[in-house]
Symmetry: C2
Subunit: 306 residues, 2 copies
Protein backbone atom coordinates (compact mmCIF):
# COMPACT_ATOMS: atom_id res chain seq x y z
CA UNK A 1 0.00 0.00 0.00
CA UNK A 2 1.52 3.30 -1.09
CA UNK A 3 -1.30 5.68 -0.35
CA UNK A 4 -4.10 5.98 2.18
CA UNK A 5 -6.89 8.47 2.89
CA UNK A 6 -7.91 9.07 6.49
CA UNK A 7 -10.44 11.09 8.45
CA UNK A 8 -8.98 12.91 11.43
CA UNK A 9 -11.56 14.10 13.95
CA UNK A 10 -12.10 17.32 15.82
CA UNK A 11 -11.57 17.01 19.56
CA UNK A 12 -12.57 18.85 22.71
CA UNK A 13 -9.88 19.40 25.36
CA UNK A 14 -10.06 21.02 28.81
CA UNK A 15 -13.33 19.27 29.58
CA UNK A 16 -14.62 21.52 32.41
CA UNK A 17 -13.06 20.17 35.66
CA UNK A 18 -10.55 18.19 33.54
CA UNK A 19 -8.53 21.24 32.52
CA UNK A 20 -5.26 20.26 30.82
CA UNK A 21 -5.94 16.52 30.92
CA UNK A 22 -9.41 15.37 29.82
CA UNK A 23 -10.53 15.38 26.19
CA UNK A 24 -12.82 13.59 23.77
CA UNK A 25 -13.20 12.94 20.05
CA UNK A 26 -16.10 14.09 17.88
CA UNK A 27 -17.64 12.13 15.04
CA UNK A 28 -17.47 15.30 12.96
CA UNK A 29 -16.13 17.61 11.69
CA UNK A 30 -13.13 15.63 10.42
CA UNK A 31 -10.18 16.73 8.33
CA UNK A 32 -9.65 14.57 5.25
CA UNK A 33 -6.15 13.79 4.14
CA UNK A 34 -4.44 11.49 1.70
CA UNK A 35 -0.88 10.49 2.51
CA UNK A 36 1.33 8.76 -0.07
CA UNK A 37 4.86 7.47 -0.03
CA UNK A 38 7.32 9.27 -2.31
CA UNK A 39 10.80 8.14 -3.23
CA UNK A 40 12.50 11.34 -2.07
CA UNK A 41 13.22 11.63 1.66
CA UNK A 42 11.17 14.79 1.97
CA UNK A 43 7.72 16.00 2.93
CA UNK A 44 5.38 17.71 0.47
CA UNK A 45 2.18 19.42 1.57
CA UNK A 46 -0.71 20.21 -0.77
CA UNK A 47 -3.68 22.08 0.73
CA UNK A 48 -7.13 21.75 -0.87
CA UNK A 49 -8.83 24.37 1.24
CA UNK A 50 -8.96 28.14 1.65
CA UNK A 51 -7.33 28.49 5.05
CA UNK A 52 -4.00 29.60 3.59
CA UNK A 53 -1.94 27.40 5.91
CA UNK A 54 1.78 27.29 5.09
CA UNK A 55 2.98 24.48 2.84
CA UNK A 56 6.66 24.57 3.83
CA UNK A 57 7.01 21.34 5.82
CA UNK A 58 8.86 22.95 8.73
CA UNK A 59 6.17 25.63 9.13
CA UNK A 60 3.26 23.24 8.74
CA UNK A 61 1.91 21.19 11.66
CA UNK A 62 1.40 18.07 9.55
CA UNK A 63 4.84 18.59 7.98
CA UNK A 64 6.62 18.80 11.34
CA UNK A 65 4.77 15.74 12.68
CA UNK A 66 5.58 13.75 9.54
CA UNK A 67 9.24 14.75 9.71
CA UNK A 68 9.33 13.49 13.29
CA UNK A 69 7.76 10.26 12.06
CA UNK A 70 10.28 9.80 9.24
CA UNK A 71 13.17 10.40 11.64
CA UNK A 72 11.83 8.10 14.37
CA UNK A 73 11.14 5.32 11.89
CA UNK A 74 14.48 5.80 10.14
CA UNK A 75 12.80 5.79 6.73
CA UNK A 76 14.72 6.28 3.50
CA UNK A 77 11.71 7.75 1.75
CA UNK A 78 9.29 10.62 2.33
CA UNK A 79 5.58 11.44 2.06
CA UNK A 80 3.25 13.69 0.15
CA UNK A 81 0.11 14.93 1.90
CA UNK A 82 -3.04 16.23 0.25
CA UNK A 83 -5.11 17.86 2.94
CA UNK A 84 -8.70 19.07 2.93
CA UNK A 85 -9.30 20.81 6.22
CA UNK A 86 -12.84 20.88 7.53
CA UNK A 87 -11.91 21.91 11.08
CA UNK A 88 -11.39 25.64 11.06
CA UNK A 89 -7.99 26.71 12.45
CA UNK A 90 -8.36 28.66 15.69
CA UNK A 91 -11.79 27.24 16.48
CA UNK A 92 -10.69 25.55 19.69
CA UNK A 93 -11.72 22.05 18.64
CA UNK A 94 -8.31 20.62 17.86
CA UNK A 95 -7.67 21.75 14.30
CA UNK A 96 -3.88 21.49 14.54
CA UNK A 97 -4.12 18.22 16.49
CA UNK A 98 -6.19 16.73 13.68
CA UNK A 99 -3.50 17.72 11.14
CA UNK A 100 -0.69 16.24 13.22
CA UNK A 101 -2.50 13.04 14.18
CA UNK A 102 -3.98 12.31 10.76
CA UNK A 103 -0.62 12.21 9.02
CA UNK A 104 1.26 10.16 11.61
CA UNK A 105 -1.51 7.55 11.83
CA UNK A 106 -1.67 7.37 8.02
CA UNK A 107 2.13 7.11 7.73
CA UNK A 108 2.13 4.36 10.35
CA UNK A 109 -0.47 2.39 8.38
CA UNK A 110 1.68 2.77 5.23
CA UNK A 111 4.86 1.54 6.91
CA UNK A 112 3.83 -1.58 8.80
CA UNK A 113 2.24 -0.23 11.99
CA UNK A 114 5.51 -0.02 13.85
CA UNK A 115 4.37 2.54 16.44
CA UNK A 116 1.83 2.19 19.25
CA UNK A 117 -0.89 4.79 19.73
CA UNK A 118 1.05 6.34 22.61
CA UNK A 119 4.14 6.61 20.42
CA UNK A 120 2.06 8.21 17.67
CA UNK A 121 0.78 10.82 20.13
CA UNK A 122 4.39 11.46 21.12
CA UNK A 123 5.33 12.04 17.45
CA UNK A 124 2.29 14.23 16.83
CA UNK A 125 3.33 16.38 19.80
CA UNK A 126 6.13 17.77 17.64
CA UNK A 127 3.53 19.19 15.26
CA UNK A 128 1.30 20.42 18.07
CA UNK A 129 4.27 22.22 19.64
CA UNK A 130 4.69 24.21 16.41
CA UNK A 131 1.05 25.34 16.59
CA UNK A 132 0.77 26.08 20.30
CA UNK A 133 4.32 26.70 21.43
CA UNK A 134 4.13 24.04 24.13
CA UNK A 135 4.18 20.27 24.46
CA UNK A 136 0.70 19.11 25.27
CA UNK A 137 -1.36 16.12 24.29
CA UNK A 138 -4.89 16.74 25.43
CA UNK A 139 -6.28 17.10 21.90
CA UNK A 140 -3.84 14.60 20.38
CA UNK A 141 -4.75 11.75 22.72
CA UNK A 142 -8.50 11.66 21.92
CA UNK A 143 -7.76 12.35 18.23
CA UNK A 144 -5.70 9.13 18.02
CA UNK A 145 -7.38 6.92 20.64
CA UNK A 146 -10.97 8.14 20.13
CA UNK A 147 -13.48 8.42 22.96
CA UNK A 148 -12.59 10.08 26.25
CA UNK A 149 -8.93 10.19 27.22
CA UNK A 150 -7.12 11.53 30.24
CA UNK A 151 -3.48 12.57 29.88
CA UNK A 152 -2.12 11.75 33.35
CA UNK A 153 1.34 13.04 32.48
CA UNK A 154 3.24 14.26 29.44
CA UNK A 155 6.74 13.44 30.75
CA UNK A 156 6.60 10.51 30.47
CA UNK A 157 3.49 10.41 28.33
CA UNK A 158 0.75 8.47 30.19
CA UNK A 159 -2.66 8.28 28.51
CA UNK A 160 -5.70 6.70 30.15
CA UNK A 161 -8.75 5.68 28.13
CA UNK A 162 -11.94 6.43 30.08
CA UNK A 163 -15.07 4.29 29.63
CA UNK A 164 -18.19 6.26 28.81
CA UNK A 165 -21.84 5.79 27.89
CA UNK A 166 -23.30 7.02 24.58
CA UNK A 167 -23.05 10.81 24.66
CA UNK A 168 -23.68 13.58 22.16
CA UNK A 169 -21.83 16.84 21.85
CA UNK A 170 -23.06 20.18 20.60
CA UNK A 171 -20.43 22.74 19.65
CA UNK A 172 -20.92 26.38 18.89
CA UNK A 173 -18.04 28.12 17.18
CA UNK A 174 -18.54 31.87 17.40
CA UNK A 175 -16.62 33.64 14.64
CA UNK A 176 -14.32 35.56 16.96
CA UNK A 177 -10.61 35.13 17.42
CA UNK A 178 -9.05 34.26 20.75
CA UNK A 179 -5.29 34.27 20.84
CA UNK A 180 -4.00 31.23 22.73
CA UNK A 181 -1.39 33.50 24.29
CA UNK A 182 -4.16 35.75 25.69
CA UNK A 183 -6.13 32.77 27.00
CA UNK A 184 -2.97 31.45 28.61
CA UNK A 185 -1.98 34.78 30.16
CA UNK A 186 -5.34 34.91 31.96
CA UNK A 187 -4.66 31.72 33.90
CA UNK A 188 -3.72 32.37 37.52
CA UNK A 189 -0.30 31.07 38.53
CA UNK A 190 -1.70 30.09 41.92
CA UNK A 191 -5.19 28.97 42.88
CA UNK A 192 -6.91 28.65 46.26
CA UNK A 193 -6.41 25.12 47.63
CA UNK A 194 -10.13 25.01 48.36
CA UNK A 195 -10.97 25.53 44.67
CA UNK A 196 -8.36 23.00 43.61
CA UNK A 197 -9.93 20.41 45.94
CA UNK A 198 -13.32 21.19 44.47
CA UNK A 199 -11.95 20.64 40.98
CA UNK A 200 -10.31 17.31 41.71
CA UNK A 201 -13.38 16.08 43.61
CA UNK A 202 -15.43 16.92 40.53
CA UNK A 203 -12.97 15.28 38.14
CA UNK A 204 -12.80 12.09 40.22
CA UNK A 205 -16.59 12.01 40.27
CA UNK A 206 -16.82 12.72 36.53
CA UNK A 207 -14.48 9.84 35.66
CA UNK A 208 -16.50 7.51 37.92
CA UNK A 209 -19.76 8.75 36.42
CA UNK A 210 -18.54 8.28 32.84
CA UNK A 211 -17.40 4.73 33.67
CA UNK A 212 -20.71 3.74 35.23
CA UNK A 213 -22.95 5.77 32.89
CA UNK A 214 -24.45 7.81 35.74
CA UNK A 215 -25.81 10.77 33.76
CA UNK A 216 -27.08 12.70 36.79
CA UNK A 217 -23.61 12.54 38.34
CA UNK A 218 -22.00 13.54 35.03
CA UNK A 219 -24.20 16.63 35.12
CA UNK A 220 -23.35 17.49 38.73
CA UNK A 221 -19.61 17.01 38.14
CA UNK A 222 -19.37 19.27 35.10
CA UNK A 223 -18.34 22.24 37.22
CA UNK A 224 -15.12 24.27 37.02
CA UNK A 225 -14.15 26.62 39.82
CA UNK A 226 -10.81 27.63 38.32
CA UNK A 227 -10.51 28.26 34.59
CA UNK A 228 -14.02 28.96 33.34
CA UNK A 229 -14.62 31.88 35.74
CA UNK A 230 -11.65 33.77 34.25
CA UNK A 231 -11.74 32.69 30.61
CA UNK A 232 -15.45 33.04 30.00
CA UNK A 233 -15.03 36.80 29.64
CA UNK A 234 -13.37 36.07 26.26
CA UNK A 235 -16.62 34.67 24.91
CA UNK A 236 -19.49 37.18 24.59
CA UNK A 237 -22.70 35.68 25.90
CA UNK A 238 -21.07 32.66 27.54
CA UNK A 239 -23.30 32.63 30.62
CA UNK A 240 -26.46 33.12 28.56
CA UNK A 241 -25.50 30.32 26.17
CA UNK A 242 -24.74 27.96 29.02
CA UNK A 243 -27.99 28.71 30.81
CA UNK A 244 -29.99 28.27 27.60
CA UNK A 245 -28.27 24.92 26.92
CA UNK A 246 -29.02 23.58 30.41
CA UNK A 247 -32.62 24.71 29.97
CA UNK A 248 -32.72 22.80 26.70
CA UNK A 249 -31.65 19.62 28.49
CA UNK A 250 -27.85 19.55 28.20
CA UNK A 251 -26.01 17.71 30.98
CA UNK A 252 -23.38 20.45 31.10
CA UNK A 253 -20.34 21.73 29.27
CA UNK A 254 -17.95 24.63 29.00
CA UNK A 255 -15.22 26.21 26.93
CA UNK A 256 -13.67 23.88 24.36
CA UNK A 257 -9.87 24.04 24.54
CA UNK A 258 -9.05 27.70 25.05
CA UNK A 259 -12.12 28.74 23.05
CA UNK A 260 -13.82 30.40 21.34
CA UNK A 261 -15.91 27.25 20.80
CA UNK A 262 -18.26 26.19 23.58
CA UNK A 263 -19.36 22.57 23.92
CA UNK A 264 -22.26 20.89 25.67
CA UNK A 265 -22.90 17.20 26.36
CA UNK A 266 -26.31 15.56 26.06
CA UNK A 267 -27.78 12.09 26.46
CA UNK A 268 -29.41 11.87 23.05
CA UNK A 269 -28.95 13.24 19.57
CA UNK A 270 -32.38 14.89 19.79
CA UNK A 271 -31.45 16.81 22.92
CA UNK A 272 -28.07 17.73 21.39
CA UNK A 273 -29.87 19.22 18.37
CA UNK A 274 -32.24 21.16 20.62
CA UNK A 275 -29.20 22.45 22.51
CA UNK A 276 -27.75 23.62 19.20
CA UNK A 277 -30.95 25.54 18.43
CA UNK A 278 -30.82 27.15 21.88
CA UNK A 279 -27.20 28.19 21.23
CA UNK A 280 -28.14 29.71 17.89
CA UNK A 281 -30.98 31.72 19.38
CA UNK A 282 -28.67 33.33 21.94
CA UNK A 283 -25.98 34.10 19.36
CA UNK A 284 -28.39 35.55 16.84
CA UNK A 285 -28.93 38.40 19.29
CA UNK A 286 -25.19 39.10 19.55
CA UNK A 287 -24.80 39.54 15.74
CA UNK A 288 -21.68 37.38 15.95
CA UNK A 289 -21.53 34.82 13.17
CA UNK A 290 -21.40 31.23 14.41
CA UNK A 291 -21.34 27.64 13.34
CA UNK A 292 -22.98 24.71 15.15
CA UNK A 293 -21.81 21.09 15.10
CA UNK A 294 -23.85 18.24 16.58
CA UNK A 295 -22.10 14.90 16.83
CA UNK A 296 -21.87 11.75 18.90
CA UNK A 297 -18.69 11.32 20.88
CA UNK A 298 -16.73 9.05 18.61
CA UNK A 299 -15.21 5.85 19.99
CA UNK A 300 -12.55 5.63 17.28
CA UNK A 301 -9.88 8.19 16.53
CA UNK A 302 -8.20 8.79 13.14
CA UNK A 303 -9.64 6.19 10.75
CA UNK A 304 -9.40 5.21 7.09
CA UNK A 305 -11.79 7.17 4.86
CA UNK A 306 -14.14 4.82 3.05
Amino acid sequence: MDEISVLSPATVANVVCGFDCLGFALGEPCDEMTVRKIAEREIRIINHDDFGLPTEPDRNVAGVALSAFVDAAGLDHGFEVESTKKIMPGSGIGSSAASACGVVVAANMLTGDRFTNVELVELAMAGEALASGSRHADNLAPCIFGGFTLVRSTEPLDIVEIDFPPLYATIIHPQIEIKTSDARAMLPKEVPLRNAIRNWSNLGALVAALSTGDFALIARSLEDAIVEPVRKSLIPGFDEVKAACLDAGALGGGISGSGPSVFMLSRTNEVAKRVGEAMSRVFEQTKIGHKIHVSPIQRSGVRPAV
Copy 2:
Protein backbone atom coordinates in the same frame (compact mmCIF):
# COMPACT_ATOMS: atom_id res chain seq x y z
CA MET B 1 -35.40 -5.67 68.19
CA ASP B 2 -34.31 -3.47 71.09
CA GLU B 3 -30.55 -3.94 70.97
CA ILE B 4 -27.89 -4.53 68.34
CA SER B 5 -24.12 -4.94 68.32
CA VAL B 6 -22.17 -3.59 65.37
CA LEU B 7 -18.62 -3.44 64.11
CA SER B 8 -17.57 -0.01 62.86
CA PRO B 9 -14.43 -0.02 60.74
CA ALA B 10 -11.33 2.11 60.63
CA THR B 11 -11.03 4.18 57.47
CA VAL B 12 -8.32 5.94 55.51
CA ALA B 13 -9.07 9.44 54.21
CA ASN B 14 -6.98 11.83 52.10
CA VAL B 15 -5.90 9.01 49.79
CA VAL B 16 -2.78 10.61 48.24
CA CYS B 17 -4.00 12.66 45.22
CA GLY B 18 -7.55 12.42 46.60
CA PHE B 19 -6.96 14.87 49.45
CA ASP B 20 -10.21 15.87 51.16
CA CYS B 21 -12.41 13.61 49.06
CA LEU B 22 -11.21 10.01 48.58
CA GLY B 23 -11.30 7.41 51.36
CA PHE B 24 -11.66 3.67 51.95
CA ALA B 25 -12.75 1.25 54.67
CA LEU B 26 -10.53 -1.32 56.37
CA GLY B 27 -11.58 -4.82 57.43
CA GLU B 28 -9.91 -4.15 60.78
CA PRO B 29 -9.43 -2.67 63.28
CA CYS B 30 -13.13 -2.13 64.08
CA ASP B 31 -14.78 -0.52 67.07
CA GLU B 32 -17.38 -2.74 68.71
CA MET B 33 -20.52 -1.19 70.08
CA THR B 34 -23.86 -2.29 71.40
CA VAL B 35 -26.72 0.16 71.05
CA ARG B 36 -30.01 -0.42 72.87
CA LYS B 37 -33.25 1.51 73.06
CA ILE B 38 -34.11 3.03 76.42
CA ALA B 39 -37.43 4.51 77.47
CA GLU B 40 -35.98 7.87 78.49
CA ARG B 41 -35.37 10.38 75.72
CA GLU B 42 -31.70 10.64 76.52
CA ILE B 43 -28.32 9.25 75.48
CA ARG B 44 -26.13 7.20 77.83
CA ILE B 45 -22.55 6.28 76.98
CA ILE B 46 -20.64 3.46 78.65
CA ASN B 47 -17.01 3.00 77.60
CA HIS B 48 -15.36 -0.41 77.97
CA ASP B 49 -11.85 0.72 77.09
CA ASP B 50 -8.99 2.68 78.58
CA PHE B 51 -9.01 5.71 76.28
CA GLY B 52 -10.75 7.91 78.84
CA LEU B 53 -13.14 9.44 76.31
CA PRO B 54 -15.86 11.64 77.83
CA THR B 55 -19.18 9.99 78.60
CA GLU B 56 -21.30 13.15 78.71
CA PRO B 57 -23.39 12.81 75.54
CA ASP B 58 -22.77 16.36 74.33
CA ARG B 59 -18.98 15.95 74.67
CA ASN B 60 -18.86 12.50 73.11
CA VAL B 61 -18.75 11.96 69.34
CA ALA B 62 -21.16 9.02 69.45
CA GLY B 63 -23.39 10.95 71.81
CA VAL B 64 -23.64 13.99 69.55
CA ALA B 65 -24.29 11.82 66.49
CA LEU B 66 -27.00 9.86 68.33
CA SER B 67 -28.65 13.07 69.54
CA ALA B 68 -28.75 14.29 65.94
CA PHE B 69 -30.33 10.95 65.00
CA VAL B 70 -32.97 11.13 67.73
CA ASP B 71 -33.88 14.69 66.70
CA ALA B 72 -34.00 13.93 62.98
CA ALA B 73 -36.13 10.84 63.51
CA GLY B 74 -38.39 12.61 66.02
CA LEU B 75 -38.10 9.70 68.46
CA ASP B 76 -39.75 9.73 71.87
CA HIS B 77 -37.12 7.41 73.35
CA GLY B 78 -33.34 7.40 73.68
CA PHE B 79 -30.38 5.01 73.43
CA GLU B 80 -27.69 3.53 75.60
CA VAL B 81 -24.33 2.76 73.98
CA GLU B 82 -21.73 0.35 75.27
CA SER B 83 -18.57 0.99 73.32
CA THR B 84 -15.34 -0.97 73.08
CA LYS B 85 -12.94 1.10 71.04
CA LYS B 86 -10.25 -0.77 69.13
CA ILE B 87 -9.30 2.16 66.92
CA MET B 88 -6.99 4.38 68.91
CA PRO B 89 -8.12 8.03 69.06
CA GLY B 90 -5.71 10.33 67.24
CA SER B 91 -4.30 7.54 65.06
CA GLY B 92 -5.45 9.09 61.78
CA ILE B 93 -7.54 6.11 60.70
CA GLY B 94 -10.99 7.47 61.46
CA SER B 95 -11.44 6.71 65.15
CA SER B 96 -14.05 9.42 65.72
CA ALA B 97 -15.77 8.60 62.41
CA ALA B 98 -16.14 4.98 63.55
CA SER B 99 -17.80 6.12 66.78
CA ALA B 100 -20.21 8.45 64.99
CA CYS B 101 -21.09 6.04 62.17
CA GLY B 102 -21.44 2.94 64.32
CA VAL B 103 -24.14 4.41 66.52
CA VAL B 104 -26.22 6.03 63.79
CA VAL B 105 -26.21 2.87 61.67
CA ALA B 106 -27.14 0.79 64.72
CA ALA B 107 -29.88 3.22 65.75
CA ASN B 108 -31.23 3.15 62.18
CA MET B 109 -31.40 -0.65 62.27
CA LEU B 110 -33.28 -0.48 65.58
CA THR B 111 -35.85 2.01 64.33
CA GLY B 112 -36.96 0.67 60.97
CA ASP B 113 -34.20 1.78 58.59
CA ARG B 114 -35.78 5.13 57.92
CA PHE B 115 -32.60 6.87 56.74
CA THR B 116 -30.53 6.27 53.62
CA ASN B 117 -26.76 5.86 53.84
CA VAL B 118 -26.24 9.44 52.66
CA GLU B 119 -28.61 10.70 55.36
CA LEU B 120 -26.73 8.64 57.95
CA VAL B 121 -23.45 10.23 56.87
CA GLU B 122 -25.13 13.62 57.22
CA LEU B 123 -26.20 12.76 60.79
CA ALA B 124 -22.77 11.37 61.68
CA MET B 125 -21.21 14.65 60.51
CA ALA B 126 -22.60 16.27 63.65
CA GLY B 127 -20.42 13.93 65.74
CA GLU B 128 -17.40 14.33 63.47
CA ALA B 129 -17.71 18.12 63.74
CA LEU B 130 -17.31 17.80 67.52
CA ALA B 131 -14.08 15.84 67.06
CA SER B 132 -12.50 17.84 64.26
CA GLY B 133 -14.14 21.23 64.47
CA SER B 134 -15.25 21.13 60.85
CA ARG B 135 -17.89 19.49 58.70
CA HIS B 136 -16.24 16.83 56.64
CA ALA B 137 -17.27 13.40 55.50
CA ASP B 138 -14.22 11.74 54.02
CA ASN B 139 -13.89 9.17 56.82
CA LEU B 140 -17.64 8.92 57.45
CA ALA B 141 -18.52 8.03 53.86
CA PRO B 142 -16.31 4.91 53.59
CA CYS B 143 -17.19 3.95 57.19
CA ILE B 144 -20.88 3.73 56.27
CA PHE B 145 -20.73 2.73 52.59
CA GLY B 146 -17.63 0.51 52.76
CA GLY B 147 -15.10 0.26 49.93
CA PHE B 148 -13.73 3.36 48.21
CA THR B 149 -15.84 6.50 48.32
CA LEU B 150 -15.37 9.94 46.89
CA VAL B 151 -17.09 12.89 48.56
CA ARG B 152 -17.76 15.18 45.60
CA SER B 153 -19.31 17.85 47.75
CA THR B 154 -20.43 18.32 51.35
CA GLU B 155 -23.00 21.06 50.69
CA PRO B 156 -25.07 19.36 49.46
CA LEU B 157 -23.59 16.02 50.45
CA ASP B 158 -22.74 14.04 47.31
CA ILE B 159 -21.03 10.68 47.79
CA VAL B 160 -19.76 8.54 44.92
CA GLU B 161 -18.97 4.86 45.37
CA ILE B 162 -15.88 3.90 43.36
CA ASP B 163 -15.44 0.39 41.93
CA PHE B 164 -12.17 -1.26 42.86
CA PRO B 165 -10.33 -4.57 42.52
CA PRO B 166 -9.27 -6.66 45.56
CA LEU B 167 -6.71 -4.56 47.43
CA TYR B 168 -4.90 -4.89 50.74
CA ALA B 169 -3.86 -2.08 53.05
CA THR B 170 -0.95 -1.94 55.45
CA ILE B 171 -1.09 0.75 58.11
CA ILE B 172 1.67 1.80 60.44
CA HIS B 173 0.62 3.88 63.42
CA PRO B 174 3.70 5.49 64.98
CA GLN B 175 3.01 6.35 68.61
CA ILE B 176 3.42 10.08 68.18
CA GLU B 177 0.78 12.77 68.46
CA ILE B 178 -0.10 15.11 65.61
CA LYS B 179 -2.55 17.84 66.42
CA THR B 180 -5.11 18.19 63.66
CA SER B 181 -4.83 21.95 64.09
CA ASP B 182 -1.06 21.78 63.38
CA ALA B 183 -1.59 19.56 60.35
CA ARG B 184 -4.23 21.94 59.11
CA ALA B 185 -2.14 25.06 59.69
CA MET B 186 0.58 23.63 57.43
CA LEU B 187 -1.68 23.51 54.41
CA PRO B 188 -0.99 26.28 51.92
CA LYS B 189 -3.93 28.60 51.24
CA GLU B 190 -2.92 28.78 47.59
CA VAL B 191 -1.20 26.21 45.41
CA PRO B 192 0.52 26.51 42.02
CA LEU B 193 -2.01 25.81 39.24
CA ARG B 194 0.53 23.45 37.69
CA ASN B 195 0.57 21.27 40.85
CA ALA B 196 -3.19 21.36 41.11
CA ILE B 197 -3.45 20.11 37.51
CA ARG B 198 -1.01 17.33 38.31
CA ASN B 199 -3.14 16.31 41.30
CA TRP B 200 -6.40 16.20 39.42
CA SER B 201 -4.84 14.36 36.49
CA ASN B 202 -3.62 11.77 38.99
CA LEU B 203 -6.97 11.54 40.77
CA GLY B 204 -8.85 11.12 37.49
CA ALA B 205 -6.40 8.38 36.50
CA LEU B 206 -6.64 6.72 39.92
CA VAL B 207 -10.44 6.54 39.78
CA ALA B 208 -10.25 5.06 36.26
CA ALA B 209 -7.55 2.60 37.36
CA LEU B 210 -9.55 1.47 40.40
CA SER B 211 -12.63 0.94 38.23
CA THR B 212 -10.80 -1.15 35.65
CA GLY B 213 -8.43 -2.91 38.08
CA ASP B 214 -5.31 -1.54 36.36
CA PHE B 215 -2.76 -2.05 39.14
CA ALA B 216 0.16 -0.48 37.26
CA LEU B 217 -1.85 2.69 36.72
CA ILE B 218 -3.02 2.68 40.36
CA ALA B 219 0.67 2.68 41.30
CA ARG B 220 1.58 5.50 38.89
CA SER B 221 -1.36 7.64 40.03
CA LEU B 222 -0.64 7.44 43.76
CA GLU B 223 1.30 10.68 43.69
CA ASP B 224 0.61 13.89 45.63
CA ALA B 225 2.32 17.14 44.68
CA ILE B 226 0.48 19.27 47.22
CA VAL B 227 -0.15 17.95 50.74
CA GLU B 228 2.37 15.16 51.30
CA PRO B 229 5.41 17.37 50.59
CA VAL B 230 4.46 19.70 53.48
CA ARG B 231 2.89 17.28 55.95
CA LYS B 232 5.43 14.51 55.75
CA SER B 233 7.77 16.49 58.02
CA LEU B 234 5.35 15.64 60.88
CA ILE B 235 6.18 11.96 60.54
CA PRO B 236 9.76 10.99 61.36
CA GLY B 237 11.13 8.58 58.75
CA PHE B 238 8.28 9.08 56.30
CA ASP B 239 10.47 9.02 53.18
CA GLU B 240 12.42 5.96 54.37
CA VAL B 241 9.22 4.08 55.21
CA LYS B 242 7.68 4.88 51.86
CA ALA B 243 10.80 3.82 49.95
CA ALA B 244 11.03 0.57 51.94
CA CYS B 245 7.35 -0.19 51.26
CA LEU B 246 7.70 0.37 47.52
CA ASP B 247 10.78 -1.88 47.57
CA ALA B 248 8.71 -4.52 49.34
CA GLY B 249 6.16 -4.43 46.52
CA ALA B 250 3.54 -1.91 47.64
CA LEU B 251 1.67 -0.12 44.85
CA GLY B 252 1.93 3.18 46.73
CA GLY B 253 0.42 5.07 49.61
CA GLY B 254 0.87 8.07 51.85
CA ILE B 255 -0.31 9.78 55.00
CA SER B 256 -3.61 8.46 56.36
CA GLY B 257 -5.93 11.34 57.20
CA SER B 258 -3.74 13.99 58.76
CA GLY B 259 -1.44 11.34 60.23
CA PRO B 260 0.45 10.09 62.08
CA SER B 261 -0.56 6.77 60.47
CA VAL B 262 0.89 5.95 57.06
CA PHE B 263 -0.90 3.54 54.70
CA MET B 264 0.22 1.51 51.73
CA LEU B 265 -1.83 -0.44 49.18
CA SER B 266 -0.82 -3.84 47.82
CA ARG B 267 -2.24 -6.41 45.43
CA THR B 268 -2.14 -9.38 47.79
CA ASN B 269 -2.28 -10.11 51.49
CA GLU B 270 1.22 -11.61 51.30
CA VAL B 271 2.72 -8.44 49.86
CA ALA B 272 0.77 -6.34 52.38
CA LYS B 273 2.33 -8.39 55.21
CA ARG B 274 5.80 -7.99 53.71
CA VAL B 275 5.16 -4.26 53.51
CA GLY B 276 4.27 -4.29 57.21
CA GLU B 277 7.57 -6.00 58.03
CA ALA B 278 9.43 -3.40 55.98
CA MET B 279 7.64 -0.63 57.89
CA SER B 280 8.58 -2.21 61.21
CA ARG B 281 12.23 -2.51 60.26
CA VAL B 282 12.45 1.20 59.48
CA PHE B 283 10.65 2.23 62.67
CA GLU B 284 12.67 -0.05 64.93
CA GLN B 285 15.62 2.20 64.14
CA THR B 286 13.74 5.34 65.16
CA LYS B 287 12.90 3.96 68.65
CA ILE B 288 9.36 5.25 68.15
CA GLY B 289 6.76 2.72 69.25
CA HIS B 290 4.41 1.64 66.48
CA LYS B 291 1.54 -0.62 65.61
CA ILE B 292 0.95 -2.35 62.28
CA HIS B 293 -2.42 -3.31 60.79
CA VAL B 294 -2.77 -5.45 57.66
CA SER B 295 -6.25 -5.74 56.21
CA PRO B 296 -8.16 -6.11 52.98
CA ILE B 297 -10.10 -3.07 51.87
CA GLN B 298 -13.57 -3.92 53.13
CA ARG B 299 -16.52 -3.72 50.74
CA SER B 300 -19.06 -3.27 53.54
CA GLY B 301 -19.14 -0.47 56.09
CA VAL B 302 -20.64 -0.65 59.59
CA ARG B 303 -22.12 -4.14 59.96
CA PRO B 304 -23.82 -6.28 62.60
CA ALA B 305 -21.36 -8.10 64.87
CA VAL B 306 -21.90 -11.86 64.70
